[in-house]
Point group: C2
Chain length 178, copies 2
DNA sequence: TTTGGCATGTAATCCGTTACATGATTAG
DNA sequence: CTAATCATGTAACGGATTACATGCCAAA
């Protein structure tokens, strides 16, 4: 398993809760950590295959009713690998904001070019706030321990703070006439 | 020029101000937009070559004193391509926070594993705030128009707000005992 | 003289997305 | 019947990083 790949760990982490298919893993990722993490099937399935080859997950295929279904279960080795990774300091995320790049370069041209971008940013931030507020409400309904819910809410909370910061920033920029 | 590549535009944008070498472009990127954008030489030099092949920049090589030096200047075509791109709605940035992933998965294991990560996040946010405060002070010393400075400060401002939001979040998480 | 800054580039690798390809089941 | 959901995968491509390779100039 390569050093920099992180897809394996989100999969191992979710499989720690319960065995799942690749399809279900994808849905769970979107539902729980979708606001700060995403995977594609093109990445997910090969990683699952690799994890299985390395013995970090076990797999039970059932072509029940003709529909393919491969349920993956985490192994002790998988759990050990996950916890080793969790203890390592997280790599700082690479930020690359196309919005800020266009804001920076807006000094070159007409100011009016910037307004639609900022207005879109406000709309996006509002949508994100709406979404995360709904997620926050939904967390309580989840069948999980108090501790699990608190960790999850923590991630939602930073998402909300970031979205609110972005909204406030964009609104101020708009009101100042850029 | 491929649809998704954005490296060409940061280069064209900076070359709009003044002709530069690849080496100088890299330094300028770090100094001005380093807090939300970064490039590597491995990406920069080939892109410059490509831009030249497409006539979006012109190049004058001078082996003055034995030291290689290729100064790139933006062309009218380059300026046109840049402004077309600037008018397009910015693509939302892909966020993938390893910190939040570990926070989310911390529900699985010991709470103590999370503390060092959060403390590191506070330190990183503080360092970022110190850095951006210095940048903000330095912008005034730059030889640029008022409008240019305002656009630049706008990007610094969002960086500061984000860093402050992250710091407040991490400190609260720590004080709540996770 | 040696370190650090200036200066340019290539090769290997890789993580990841998008598009493609296929098919069963279920609800309306 | 048909659309949405469940379900699994491959191939092509691509942007980007890292490591490698080279060499001059100036200052300490």
């Amino acid at each position: 398993m390569s050093e920099r790949a992180r897809t394996p760990y989100i999969l191992l982490g979710l499989l720690c809760h319960e065995p799942m298919t690749g399809y279900e893993l994808n849905a769970t990722i979107q539902r729980t950590v979708g606001h700060f993490w995403q995977e594609s099937f093109g990445q997910l399935y090969p990683t699952l295959k690799d994890l299985h080859a390395r013995g970090l997950v076990s797999m039970s295929a059932s072509a029940a009713g003709g529909r393919d279904r491969k349920v993956y279960t985490i192994t002790d080795d998988g759990r050990a690998a996950l916890f080793r990774w969790l203890a390592e300091p997280p790599q700082p995320s690479v930020v690359r904001s196309e919005l800020l790049l266009k804001v920076f370069l807006a000094s070159l041209g007409g100011v009016d070019d910037l307004r639609p971008h900022l207005e879109a940013a406000v709309r996006a931030a509002n949508a994100q706030i709406t979404h995360l507020t709904a997620v926050r409400a939904a967390v309580d309904a989840e069948p999980a321990t108090e501790h699990q819910r608190r960790c999850w809410l923590l991630t939602v909370d930073l998402g909300l703070r970031s979205a609110e910061a972005t909204r406030a920033w964009a609104e101020r920029a708009l009101s100042e006439g850029t």
